[in-house]
Symmetry: C2
Subunit: 246 residues, 2 copies
């Protein structure tokens, strides 16, 4: 069972203050790129893994999705999601992503934003999703980049000229990393980018596009705190397809 840090009161309170919590998709600087990686959602059956407040579920429904299922481990997050949701086309369910059972060939799109790096067993999830997708269906997700997750102690260094660098260590040592982000003892999994990609291929997926997201000049001008994200890849975005015929 994946750790449910989102129901920790400190974490929940801290997370609620983030731009991506308050403003939804438009508060997530990687969303403009992630959006271009999505297939047409109109008329489609969609699942959102780690849906949180349900921002993506509602966006997909507004774009004409036929049905959206939002899954999360946090009862508190889903409570907020339900409060903000009117459409009967959206359903929210508590579900552990590491033991997901889904009807085969039932989905057009599996989506996930910054949730899968919490999971220990990614191979099992990718096998489940491959089976649950219709031929031609897509998996599009973001996760923390291994350059970001690798060092057990995370922090920028600044040299004499003011140049920021992100010190990478333990990159080859995959497994648990503990961070203290809004709460102590948040457990994440460090996986090499190669491991993510090879796991998708092993499950049967064809890789369609990888992005190692960084801010553009306009985003930095509007939000100078993003400037340091030029120096490292903090998040990666990946789209993969279940082949149309096998």
């Amino acid at each position: 069972m994946t750790q449910n840090i989102y129901d920790d009161p400190n974490f929940f309170a801290g997370y609620a203050t983030l731009d991506r919590s308050v403003k939804g998709l438009d508060g997530a600087p990687e969303w403009p790129v992630l959006q271009t990686m999505l297939p047409e959602v109109q008329g489609k059956q969609i699942i959102d893994l780690g849906c949180g407040y349900g921002w993506f579920c509602r966006w997909a429904q507004e774009q004409g999705a036929a049905g959206v299922l939002g899954l999360d481990v946090s009862e508190k997050m889903l409570e907020r999601a339900r409060e903000m949701t009117q459409s009967p086309l959206i359903d929210y369910q508590i579900r552990d992503l590491e033991s997901l059972q889904l009807a085969s060939s039932s989905l057009d799109l599996a989506y996930s934003s910054l949730a899968l790096h919490y999971l220990q067993n990614i191979d099992g999830l990718f096998a489940s999703l491959f089976s649950a997708l219709k031929p031609g269906g897509m998996l599009v997700f973001s996760a923390e980049h291994p350059v970001y997750t690798a060092p057990p102690k995370q922090g920028w260094i600044v040299d004499a000229e003011g140049q920021k660098s992100w010190p990478v260590s333990h990159y080859q040592q995959e497994g648990e990393r503990i961070s203290n982000w809004f709460a102590d003892g948040v457990k994440k999994q460090h996986r090499k980018l190669a491991t993510w990609i090879n796991a998708l291929i092993a499950a049967g997926f064809v890789i369609e596009r990888l992005e190692e997201w960084g801010p553009d000049a306009a985003q930095i001008a509007a939000n100078p705190a993003l400037d340091e994200e030029k120096e490292r890849p903090m998040i990666f975005l990946l789209s993969a397809r279940k082949p149309a015929s096998r």
Copy 2:
């Protein structure tokens, strides 16, 4: 035209002292993994892009390849390669990889070891190789990892506890990097891993496997200098296939 640093006397002399120059494939610690990514070479038509001393060309011929073409920009390297080669099945030619012309559907395998990060125009090369490969043919190559190439000034840092880290900066800023490796002013290109992968996909390739190479415990025991490569990915290995039917 790609810079030909290999004909610089200092560079040539320095490069000649490397394990991978003296011992060939067995002197390259990533070779055991790279070898597992290769298709069967017996009876195949093979090209080696940046063949250097021709170690891989001779290995492929010994494994029963039908024909091997080794390409390089360095006349000195090819001179040494020819001195070490007996088989008439191997041909060496001076060729600029950025303006490569090859007969279409003529090759089973395109191979390259630590050469493609010198090229400015990777899209053109991948398009040429895709056309030159037979359906089902493969491209297998290694290159310097973007975590390694990103920082304009490269060097380890060591903290108070002796932990080594590799400071990453300028990751999002792709383009030329100048290093002083055996000679001053060696020009390389920094590209995000995403850029390499998306360029292959854009050319029509299907990604088969990615490895972000690191040493195993036995390699570190035999060569303690490799220990620091646990901390970062220095080299990536990639295999991609031209689909059998299109």
